[in-house]
């Protein structure tokens, strides 16, 4: 009867402005974690403008100028790291408890000229652009132009690699079929396990020493190389310890002149902590957090691989310290929460290093992709949720900062209470936490050959990609524009946007007799692209192994010490390369149109369709409407469309999964897009599914925007048909309007929706809880919505920091209010 007499009610928007974010308009029982100290530190972190620091570049350039050729490559890297740790400006802020910055001050980002060197023009762009701005002084630009740029010309990793890639690769790359992952940082995906809470760097040094002793110079042809790598690891341990000691020294000095007795005590405590860690294993919660933070800083100072650095299952790592101290009475819950909040703010102080050249278009964000895993299972398979997990959820909710990203891990063993607590944070509409299914990703990791223990200690880092924490290099090698491959197939190897060759000749589409002919041509094109991609990825891997090792990172990733090999050189226990495929929804829907209308029902001819596409559907609205309204599309639990999706997914797997990489590991499939689906959309003409030229393609494994018209239960069942455990991660974005999450029981039902997706084998799901009116208002009046954060495709970002295309896309996504 009156089935829709539910009044839609907006969750009250938090007023804009930094401080007000703490005081929700709703009554909360969050406790006093958000105290005065955290308030101030957060305000500073949120309000400080991102800037560039040339200090690291100057130290590195000077060191390389002086020492090039004197040492082995790993030793050069370690000694350069040592120079930075000795010389860089160190910082201890007012009120801080957890200390250490990569730059000279919060939000100040160094550059990595040895990887890719910013030009003067790049700096001008970064300094003046509206979004994701990084300020830099003219004086610094001049210094950089004089001291840094000339030395690195032709020597950067980027130049050395891209001067050697084959023409076919370049043609495919330039057409926007795939990206590379070398824009401003090293390859990566690094998350840690629990060993740094049990051992200090001095303990690691002893292990390194022991392995040096064991080297067999008579029989092992690699012994000398291993020696250099191990020596480099030992040097980098010393460097990190020196870095910490300098902070201890500074804190002691500050304590001497400090007049406030409370702060004086804190500074002395900071000094004690920094004398203890990372040299020796932490003894309490404060030391444990500071331990991780120094390791984090070391990694992102050394090279800043992709997704920075991740603590992995941070709640599980901190839990023993928390419980011990609570039992001993040396810590209160509030103090624990304060320390964790301090850590959160530290991560937020570290925006990603900015990109160079035009590649900023591919993925622009301040987010450096540290993702805290909360909940999940322990290595022994038991439930990993503890009081620390709840504290972290509270901190994430109350602080409401861009970084770190956070995710909850919901296994069949996870208590409903925790899921419900997480759903309540999701309801706030900050775009986090994202939700992962350990029962699925443990299977994924087992399938890739990990031991059960290592698989359980794994999880996600960055966005949605999984790995065995502390034991694996799982490198993203770049995104793949799957719909573009179909476009090139429909043009017999030509990129229709430029008329240039961008693939191989797979036959004139007009000669295809049936859908199978077309699909087989698509598969041939796909294989060609994957071969190109892998060929160059292998080359990049070898270049990094040879010229840009990461000895510090190698210390904390098993089994680099045992093998005497670098993180980039097959040192880790597991070595995976992921290729991230984007646009499953767009390509499925396009194939569905071709199959149904062109080949089966003969609603219109291929020629009619291809003409319409090449004219961007101009004058063809009737045809386009028929397509979008009369075709089975992915995401509706429709067998016709879902079969195609499953088929494409399986063929992507067949093309990628299990191919060998150069480090003894394999390539695997990943269904991630981050923001690349927007860039890929720009590089793609109109598609058979009625999508206009230039509009973004579907993200991750989500349905095409607006094509999931049967509600979230159907989306979930469509996604459930993909054999997700064969991938290294899929991504599902669902947008919810606040009115669907108004009452307590609505929140419980969201939990049920998540659990039912995971029952079907789902890997990941995330929710954007916003209403269109809010988004439109935010577009019209950005300054009033500075704190509006939305979850894009694997991470959260400020709505105002997104370009107009991304904003539009968020608005376009299906609203699940009525279905």
């Amino acid at each position: 009867m009156t089935s829709s007499t539910i009044k839609t009610e907006k969750i009250p928007e938090r007023p804009a402005g930094a401080v007000s974010n703490f005081s929700s308009t709703e009554k909360q029982n969050n406790g006093p974690g958000m105290n005065d100290r955290i308030r101030k530190l957060r305000k500073q972190s949120v309000e400080t403008q991102e800037s560039l620091s040339i200090e690291r570049a100057l130290i590195t350039t000077r060191f390389y100028k002086e020492n090039e050729g004197k040492y082995s490559v790993p030793m050069m890297r370690a000694l350069n790291f040592m120079e930075i740790c000795k010389q860089k400006t160190i910082y201890i802020g007012k009120e801080e408890l957890i200390v250490g910055e990569r730059g000279p001050a919060p939000k100040s980002v160094p550059t990595f000229p040895e990887l890719t060197c910013h030009s003067v023009e790049d700096f001008y762009v970064l300094n003046s652009r509206d979004q994701q701005r990084y300020t830099i002084s003219q004086e610094d630009i001049d210094t950089y132009e004089r001291e840094v740029i000339p030395y690195w010309k032709g020597r950067t990793m980027r130049e050395r690699i891209f001067s050697h890639v084959p023409q076919e690769w370049k043609a495919v790359y330039e057409a926007g079929v795939f990206t590379e992952f070398m824009e401003q940082r090293a390859p990566g995906h690094t998350a840690l396990d629990g060993k740094i809470y049990r051992k200090g760097l001095l303990d690691f040094k002893k292990e390194i020493e022991a392995h040096i002793q064991r080297l067999d110079f008579l029989n092992d042809p690699e012994a000398t190389e291993k020696l250099e790598e191990l020596k480099a690891m030992a040097v980098s341990c010393d460097a990190a310890i020196i870095f910490a000691e300098r902070h201890a020294g500074l804190a002691e000095k500050m304590a001497e002149t400090e007049t406030d007795p409370e702060r004086k005590k804190e500074l002395k405590q900071i000094a004690e902590v920094c004398r203890r860690v990372p040299a020796r294993a932490p003894r309490n919660l404060w030391e444990a957090i500071q331990m991780y933070w120094f390791v984090h800083l070391g990694t992102i100072t050394e090279l800043n691989g992709w997704d920075a650095m991740n603590p992995g299952h941070f709640d599980q790592h901190l839990q023993p310290f928390y419980e011990k101290e609570m039992a001993e009475g040396t810590l209160t819950r509030d103090e624990a929460k304060e320390l964790i909040s301090c850590f959160w703010i530290k991560v937020n102080n570290h925006p990603a290093p900015p990109k160079v050249g035009i590649t900023a278009r591919e993925s622009g964000t301040y987010n450096d992709f540290t993702n805290i895993n909360i909940g999940g299972v322990k290595p022994d398979g038991s439930d990993g949720v503890s009081e620390v997990s709840y504290i972290m959820l509270e901190v994430a909710e109350e602080l409401h900062v861009l970084q770190p990203g956070n995710s909850v891990h919901i296994s069949a063993k996870t208590p409903d209470r925790f899921l419900n607590a997480a759903c309540k944070v999701i309801r706030r509409g900050h775009g986090y936490p994202s939700v992962f299914n350990p029962d699925a990703y443990i299977q994924e990791l087992l399938r890739q050959g990990k031991s059960i223990q290592d698989a359980r200690e794994g999880g996600c880092s960055g966005c949605i990609e999984v790995g065995a924490f502390g034991k694996e290099a799982y490198l993203l090698t770049g995104y793949l524009n799957v719909p573009k491959i179909l476009e090139i197939t429909l043009n017999n190897g030509i990129n229709p946007l430029t008329g240039k060759v961008a693939g191989i000749k797979t036959g004139d589409p007009h000669n295809f007799q049936n859908f199978e002919d077309l699909y087989n041509a698509f598969l041939k094109q796909l294989d060609f692209v994957i071969d190109q991609k892998i060929r160059v990825s292998n080359y990049i891997d070898q270049m990094f192994a040879k010229y840009a090792p990461a000895p510090f990172l190698s210390v904390v990733i098993d089994d680099c010490i045992q093998k005497g090999k670098d993180y980039y050189n097959g040192g880790p226990r597991y070595n995976t390369n992921y290729i991230q495929c984007t646009g499953l929804g767009t390509v499925t829907d396009s194939l569905s149109v071709l199959k149904k209308h062109v080949f089966e029902d003969k609603t219109f001819s291929l020629e009619t369709l291809l003409n319409a596409i090449s004219n961007n559907y101009e004058g063809e609205e009737k045809l386009r409407q028929r397509i979008i309204n009369r075709t089975p599309f992915f995401g509706n639990d429709d067998e016709y469309a879902d079969e195609i999706a499953v088929c494409v997914y399986n063929d992507l797997l067949a093309a990628i999964d299990g191919k060998p990489n150069v480090k003894g590991g394999q390539y695997h499939l990943n269904m991630l897009s981050t923001t690349c689906h927007v860039y890929f959309g720009k590089m793609l003409g109109a598609t058979p599914n009625g999508r206009f030229s230039g509009k973004s393609i579907s993200d991750g494994t989500s349905p095409s925007h607006g094509c999931d018209t049967h509600g979230p239960t159907n989306v979930i069942r469509s996604l459930g048909k993909l054999d997700q455990v064969k991938s290294g991660g899929t991504l599902l974005n669902l947008r919810f309007v606040p009115s669907l999450l108004k009452r307590e029981k609505d929140v419980e039902k969201l939990g049920h929706l998540i659990r039912s997706y995971f029952t079907l084998g789902g890997h990941h799901i995330q929710f954007n809880v916003v209403d269109t009116a809010t988004l439109l208002a935010a577009q019209a009046c950005p300054e009033d919505y500075k704190d509006l954060m939305v979850r894009m495709a694997g991470y959260s970002d400020y709505f105002n920091d997104m370009n107009a295309d991304l904003q539009q896309e968020i608005i376009d996504r299906t609203e699940n209010e009525n279905f």
């Binding site: 009867m1 089935s3 007499t5 539910i6 839609t8 028929r626 239960t713």
Partner: protein, 301 residues
Amino acid sequence: MIPLIFDIRRYSINDGPGIRITLFMKGCPLRCKWCHNPESQSPEVQKLYTASKCIGAQECIEVCPEDALTLTPKGIVTDYELCTLCGKCAEACPSKAIEMSGKLYSVEELLAIIEKERVHIDQSGGGVTFSGGEPLMHPEFLIEMLKACGEKGLHRAVDTSGFASTETLLEVAKHADLFLFDLKLMNPVQHKKWTGVDNRLILKNLKLLAEKEANINIRIPLIKNVNTSEEEIREMAGFVSAFPGKKPVVNLLPYHNIASGKYKKLEVPYDEGEMGEPTEKEIQKAVEIFHSFGLETEVGG
């Protein structure tokens, strides 16, 4: 007679416990002035036209065997003297500007659709809700569906106005796990004015159902100037609280005029008249009154 279904809603979270699938049957003996699903009233197939979706393709005009359609500056106009509701125009329309409301499904087809939701239903303790229109207008079909769902272990809710023969209602009650029972007004004259029917049968049925210890959620659409006065709320609360046995939960559903667009699609005028959205204060006041009668009350389904 097999009823037409005009909507199937998944992730239905306001029509009973858990995540549900709700089937909306066409046909209703009431004519509530605030009705949010005007297409639910007639048991026949109806045509819905959304002018904003119309791109002027005119394919509907071409296929209409009765020449009942013309393109005007306001969009496609149907001459209902000629139209036989054959639905060819809707089939031909590329943009779904014309849609037919009301589709025939067999029991088996509906069960298959429901079964697809199984994972969500099992996980959440959800089920199936039969709504309308007035599902009790189709007792045979409804009972067949209820029985079949019962055999499959599905929780069954029936969303009803209560305006049906007592016999039918009690028969349905044997196969339903929950009633979502609408209560609109206590005064029979007012009830007739606003809904087109007298409420004595409804109140009698509701009381009887309660006496039989059926599980009941009372659903009250709260509409300003219709039933938000304190006297009216008190009378409703007094009536419900006097039921023997377990007290039903009361859901207050505040009115809003989102349905006006639907009337336009049906090409039927919508006169909001003096009806209005209740204020937050009025809603809270109503909640307090129900609470004071010892009734568990929540706003929303």
